[in-house]
Symmetry: C2
Subunit: 330 residues, 2 copies
């Protein structure tokens, strides 16, 4: 299929008017790696930027088996019931999806995906986490311009995707399950300290008591180990995504975080710092990609990397040789 | 004073022969920002690289008031008593020192600094953490080539210096004090999860019981919250740097970590990954510095940074404009 010629201004108008087709096309455009698409995507984003920033940006990660998809569906349905408009995005650098489809994750959240007021988009594909994260960040902006006021960004927990997601949201939720002290098997070092709230899911049936106990234990451990940061004490909540109990507490916590961080200026500071870091990351990644794409570098890199890994060559010396080669001084 | 012409090969021989003066000159050379010194430093490191890697690299951070300097002195004296040769380096990006001096921190560790088998070097000065960390990493290599077999790298806890230190050592120690649950006031988010061992200092006199209690609480919180990584369960120890009790347990823990991580291959993997990341960080920092030094960039940057901070311009668009300018396409 040959797509219609891209008119970023018309596409932006469609996005802002709430046209689903325009929204899907806009995100597909942003996910494209074609140079002409990239230029159109830039123009589209320029049109949309003044209309972004209005959503609560919520990141969600969890241990395997925590019931993250069910939790996100329950949470999204609760947002809808409160009159909100949720969009669900994902960062999964391992995803083999080849772009363009809006199927995929939808099957995991059937009820939410059937509601025309909600929007669910699986992870863009891409070989690098940086590329996937960039497109998800931009998709988040497009969703905001389209009027979605709660953006949920889900991480699959591969590589450094949790950090990438925490770096693009206002609030980061960690979903755990009640268990015997081994709840964090499968979660990587450093993730707990990214969390702005911890949620113990599956607090239903036989597990209800265990969930309450786990929540108490986590709360006390977090109180002891988590450094007080921006005046926000990380709460530990229980819920059951299955029976949809406790979901309102999570939602109220999101609102309370938004209010307190908004009033203190912490939210604006966090977003400004994220945008600044994002810009410099993009600069850095673009420059590094140009360096890697350089034929002279590609020929020399394996030898130098091996020498550095073996401890035969100082990393600084290898770096300077490569940069000199890249800048045509080698 | 005009220094003698630099002969990297002769200097490397002096370092390896254990000459204090050569060691101090070598590190001063590495810390220099002069271009000709940098070239000589590269040549020096090339000479020394085959003789590096033999030390236990131990990073130490702590909450303010934890008695870190006293702890490092007691630890260093214990290493000496065991027949080891300790070197103490520091990463302090806020240090206003203007290079070359080997005074400074020595006054904090009088007994250790008087011992000719030990070596203490304050933090290099530098405006960026990256620059300070690079020089400390290279100083660590020089110390290893000079025969020091325990390198202690201290962080002052400014900016991201803990992460920088954790990224250059084999084992990272977090020094805390017994207290009323607010022990982590002053320590930043994410630091606890960097620790390979937690040490509760000041376990003496009136505080002995509180220290034991704090250690138990930390151990249980860490067990609950810390993700199992490389098969190493983070131990929590008590000691008194003042009365020098419990220091041998810390030393035995360092040896045990070294043995277990060495046997499993985790140590070699950690060092190879660190060297690889260090090389790419240096490449990235060098390229970003060239970009910042570009006159066209310097003229345009403030406007773009402000627009990004205000949410008027997408970070990606700003990045692409700056890179295009830098590469002469703007």
């Amino acid at each position: 299929m040959t797509p219609a010629p891209l008119d970023p201004v018309a596409l932006a108008q469609g996005v802002r008017a709430g046209q689903r087709r325009a929204l899907a096309r806009a995100i597909t455009l942003i996910e494209s790696t074609r140079a002409d698409h990239r230029a159109a995507a830039e123009a589209l984003l320029s049109e949309l930027m003044p209309h972004t920033g209005g959503a609560a940006r919520v990141g969600i990660t969890g241990v395997p088996g925590a019931g993250k998809s069910t939790f996100i569906e329950s949470f999204g349905l609760h947002v809808l019931a409160q009159g909100g408009r949720p969009a669900v995005l994902a960062v999964d650098p391992s995803s083999p999806r080849t772009g363009g489809s809006i199927l995929g994750d939808k099957t995991r959240m059937e009820e939410l995906s059937r509601d025309p007021r909600a929007f669910i988009r699986p992870s863009p594909s891409g070989c690098t986490l940086g590329g996937v994260a960039r497109r998800t960040r931009e998709a988040m902006l497009v969703c905001e311009a389209a009027g979605f006021d709660v953006i949920v960004v889900e991480t699959v927990g591969v590589g450094q995707s949790e950090t990438a997601v925490a770096d693009m949201v206002d609030m980061f939720l960690l979903v755990l399950v009640p268990g015997g002290g081994d709840e964090l098997q499968g979660i990587k070092k450093g993730i707990v300290e990214l969390a702005d709230a911890v949620i113990v899911n599956k607090a239903d049936g036989d597990l209800a008591a265990a969930a309450a106990r786990a929540a108490r234990d986590y709360a006390s451990a977090l109180h002891l180990l988590a450094a007080p940061g921006d005046g926000w004490q990380v709460p530990v909540l229980t819920c059951s995504a299955l029976t949809r109990t406790g979901i309102d507490s999570v939602w109220q916590t999101v609102l309370r975080h938004r209010d307190s961080q908004g009033a203190s200026g912490a939210l604006a500071a966090r977003r400004a710092a994220q945008a600044h870091a994002w810009m410099w990351n993009e600069i850095s990644e673009t420059l590094l990609q140009s360096l890697r794409d350089d034929g002279r570098i590609a020929a020399r890199l394996p030898t130098l990397e091996q020498a550095v890994a073996d401890g035969r060559l100082a990393p600084g010396a290898a770096a300077r040789e490569l940069v000199a080669l890249f800048r045509g001084e080698g």
